[in-house]
């Protein structure tokens, strides 16, 4: 669907060709020119080298999903490019540019009949001292998207400063050669650049970085880390930044240690977090139950990847919903939240920290590889007031009851150092004082307490994104929400009104609010990236759905695109 303010470009190349660098520079330069955008990086299974593709999508509004088709595809070379066939779709209106010396273009591209324009990037680069084909590709893209050269020139100074002036000069010369080579080309469609000056402050950030910043803003001052794709960037961002704000990060020997370290820190009064992915979350489950039972706030970010087992580490999936909500043994209510976009990773993690501290319970943030690792240009997120503030016990003269019953279920927590309030935090069923017991009454009382404190809390409007009015509701969660929004906007252009219900808070369930959101809806289309339709089952377990329900579910690694959802909406004729 050509839209003058919605453009998609992909760079493809084999390992070392620099497709990802070209994509990152394009995104940043476009951001400086006032665009919003998303950079989707896809890499082959090799950790270093191998093939890579960078898709840059630009618009004058928030960009939260992959495009259905590309406007421009530049093959720096085509070696192994067929691996990306399904992710990088060209359409009849796409412009494809390739180096005649870069191998055969993938079959899918030829099949679409899009013209392939030959530009000998490799040979051109040879004519420039230290010339780089990817910078020529970048110049071609910059020219076709109507971006001025100066935006890139300034970036080279910043990006290649440590490589020296020669590298900067070589990149400049290569870029210029690209602009020159594209002089007589055009995308065949109008481009309306965003109005300069009128734009608000912009950020270039990944979901993982945004989540880490949200955590610190919410009050996190300790993290324990065991590296895992695609969560590592959260931990690597936190290591230096926690130190700057007087906190610390410990590298743990495994995830069992990581979660127990944050429990120890939080028991001592320091809000604490760890980040992991499915395999790590699996190891953390026992201790999550401990933190639930002993009422110790912690935040665990699970950046979901393809599963089960080692699965597909570098690709997104929404299939950890079951383990996050139901993974603990016993009845162990805790918080589960899910961000809906790169920018929302900040809000949701900050809110999760606030909720965990307020409700003295673990919060799992279910992010995923798509929102976690992709970089976006977004408007600076509004500052929010959520700062975790735990109810603390004061110095006590008489007997201190750590797990005392309270109307809201939250009992003031003593922190070591407070005189007279010594108690033992325990995962054993305990009395209000925290003394182990196997009595039926105490068991019931404390189970009720921990359930009620979560259910009675007023979560406000943040619990879900509820948009639109149509009597067909698309119900989605997490990172597919962006694609759903786009599909709903396209349906509106066809005259079909569709509404969106996307819970950000998955546990505890909000039956009353959900029923209110569904009022008047006749049909529900459920969209999720899980082979087992975990979200559909979750909805069935907790909520009443309309009689007519359809489910669009698919496992990873391919993201669900707006076009598929749009089709599912259009196809559901009454």
């Amino acid at each position: 669907m050509p839209n003058a303010q919605n453009l998609s470009v992909a760079f493809v190349g084999s390992g070392g060709a620099g497709a990802l660098t070209a994509g990152s520079l394009l995104l940043e330069a476009a951001g400086a020119a006032g665009w919003q955008g998303l950079l989707i990086r896809t890499v082959g299974p090799q950790i270093r080298g191998g093939e890579a593709a960078a898709v840059v999508r630009l618009a004058d509004h928030p960009v939260e999903s992959l495009p259905d088709h590309l406007d421009l595809l530049i093959g720096i070379d085509w070696l192994n490019a067929q691996r990306f066939g399904a992710e990088i779709e060209v359409g009849p209106h796409s412009l494809v540019i390739g180096d005649p010396r870069g191998g055969e273009p993938p079959k899918g591209i030829a099949a679409f009949g899009a013209p392939i324009v030959a530009i000998p990037m490799k040979d051109m680069a040879k004519a420039i001292p230290d010339g780089r084909p990817n910078m020529i590709a970048l110049g071609i893209a910059g020219k076709l998207l109507g971006l001025g050269e100066p935006a890139f020139l300034a970036l080279f100074e910043k990006w290649f400063a440590d490589k020296g002036q020669a590298a900067i000069d070589a990149s400049r010369a290569s870029l210029k050669a690209g602009y020159e080579a594209a002089r007589d080309l055009d995308l065949g469609r109008p481009i309306v650049p965003p109005k300069a000056g009128s734009t608000q402050k912009k950020w270039l950030v990944s979901g993982n970085e945004a989540a880490a910043l949200g955590a610190i803003r919410g009050g996190i001052r300790f993290a324990a880390a065991y590296p895992i794709t695609p969560a590592t960037e959260i931990l690597e961002w936190l290591a230096p930044n926690l130190a700057k704000v007087g906190g610390a990060l410990l590298q743990a020997e495994d995830e069992l240690a990581a979660i127990n370290m944050i429990i120890g820190a939080s028991y001592g009064g320091t809000p604490a977090l760890t980040a992991t992915s499915g395999p790590g979350l699996s190891l953390m489950i026992e201790a999550l139950g401990l933190a639930t039972a002993a009422e110790i706030p912690i935040v665990v970010i699970d950046v979901m990847r393809g599963g089960p087992s080692t699965g597909i580490p570098t690709k997104s999936e929404q299939a950890d919903l079951n383990i996050a909500v139901y993974g603990c043994h016993g009845d162990a209510p805790h918080l589960v939240l899910a961000p809906q976009s790169v920018g929302d990773c900040l809000f949701t993690t900050q809110w999760a920290t606030y909720l965990a501290e307020t409700l003295q319970t673990p919060a799992i943030v279910l992010s995923d590889q798509f929102v976690g690792q992709n970089h976006a240009i977004i408007e600076r997120p509004a500052e929010i007031a959520f700062l975790g503030q735990r109810s603390r016990a004061a110095e006590a003269a008489g007997e201190y009851k750590r797990y005392a019953l309270a109307a809201n279920g939250v009992s003031p927590m003593a922190i070591p150092g407070i005189r007279g309030a010594q108690y033992t935090a325990d995962g054993l069923t305990h009395t209000e004082r925290g003394i182990p017991t196997s009595g039926a009454a105490d068991h019931q009382i404390q189970l009720d307490k921990r359930r009620d404190k979560l259910e009675r809390f007023n979560y406000g409007d943040h619990w879900a994104s509820i948009e639109g009015t149509g009597n067909l509701a698309v119900i989605a969660w997490g990172s597919v929400t962006g694609a759903v929004r786009e599909a709903i906007a396209r349906a509106a252009e066809d005259g079909i009104e569709v509404s969106l219900i996307a819970p950000r808070l998955l546990s505890p369930a909000r039956p009353e609010q959900f029923a209110a959101a569904l009022r008047g809806k006749k049909r529900a289309l459920i969209v999720e990236q899980s082979h087992g339709a975990q979200f559909h089952r979750y909805l069935r377990a907790h909520y009443d759905l309309p009689a007519a329900v359809r489910v669009l579910n698919r496992p990873g690694p391919l993201p669900i695109k707006p076009g598929e959802i749009h089709r599912a909406i259009k196809d559901w004729r009454l």
């Binding site: 950020w203 127990n260 120890g264 001592g268 033992t424």
Partner: protein, 278 residues
């Protein structure tokens, strides 16, 4: 140590809670509890400044029997809890208590890394060479021929040597004690707590129910015939060749404890987002 602290509580009874232990009569762990309270009294620390952290097992029930802050977590992970606590609250005295199953089997990996990390805390393992709480299965320190329902005729496996492993992994203080000598044990604990870095104290503590033979330990233990060394090679030779009943402080290292600076913010929070601004 400030005078305020010493005035507060200095009788062992001040460090004992009113909770009645679940231990069997005659269990060695009663004496370990006594050594804890005596050591805390001798150190003169306010009970609210001490945290006793544990995992799961008979021995791991000890925190609630003290009048200190306590943490009774999951099986085998107490050292990780202790590390997270001590790094963020360096003002506290952290004592981690464990059993031979909790510390050497399910928690074995954390033991290695706690020694290596060398956070300033004291790790006490009440070793009874058996899983007491689950009623008598072999632990990593059980003798190869010891017959149990789970290992008819014995495991045939060589026991794990915790002190050697602690030394090789970087523990900064290593001692062996016997629960039946609470005064001696208390003074070792005092030294262990005072010693900077990760201190490891293995306390032989009989399980009278599932290892009645261990009642004879009192006849086997003997004071180490040597003074503590700071030479790991010497300590290794000594520990590897002793009879397992050599009681005393066997190694005292001088590695710097791991203690990241915390508490002092160097920048305003609003600085952190600068790197994202275009």
């Amino acid at each position: 140590m400030s005078t305020a602290k010493t005035q507060l509580a200095c009788k062992p009874a001040d460090y004992k809670s009113d909770i009645k232990p679940i231990w069997c009569p005659g269990c060695g762990d009663y004496h370990v509890l006594m050594s804890f309270t005596r050591a805390f009294a001798e150190l003169g620390l306010p009970p609210e400044q001490i945290v006793v952290v544990s995992g799961i097992g008979c021995s791991s029930r000890i925190p609630a029997y003290t009048n200190c802050y306590g943490f009774h977590g999951v099986h085998g992970r107490s050292l990780a809890v202790g590390a997270g606590l001590k790094v963020t609250r360096p003002d506290l005295t952290v004592v981690v208590a464990s059993g031979d199953g909790d510390g050497y089997s399910i928690g074995g990996n954390h033991f290695l890394h706690a020694c290596r990390r060398n956070v300033d805390m004291t790790y006490v393992v009440m070793d009874n060479h058996i899983y007491g709480m689950t009623k008598g299965q072999p632990s990593p320190t059980t003798e190869p021929e010891f017959d149990t329902a789970l290992s008819p005729g014995g495991t045939g496996l060589r026991p794990f040597h915790p002190l050697v492993i602690a030394l090789a992994s970087g523990a900064n203080f290593i001692a062996r004690c016997f629960s039946g000598e609470p005064n001696e044990t208390a003074s070792v604990l005092v030294e262990a707590i005072r010693h900077p870095g990760f201190s490891f104290v293995e306390i032989l503590s009989p399980c009278v129910t599932f290892r009645p033979d261990e009642k004879n330990w009192k006849n086997l233990v003997h004071p180490a015939p040597v003074v503590a060394t700071d030479d790991p090679a010497k300590a290794a030779r000594r520990i590897m060749t002793d009879d397992g009943f050599n009681i005393g402080i066997l190694y005292r290292g001088d590695r710097k404890p791991y203690a990241p600076e915390t508490g002092q913010a160097l920048v305003e929070l609003s600085e952190l987002e600068k790197e994202f601004e275009l």
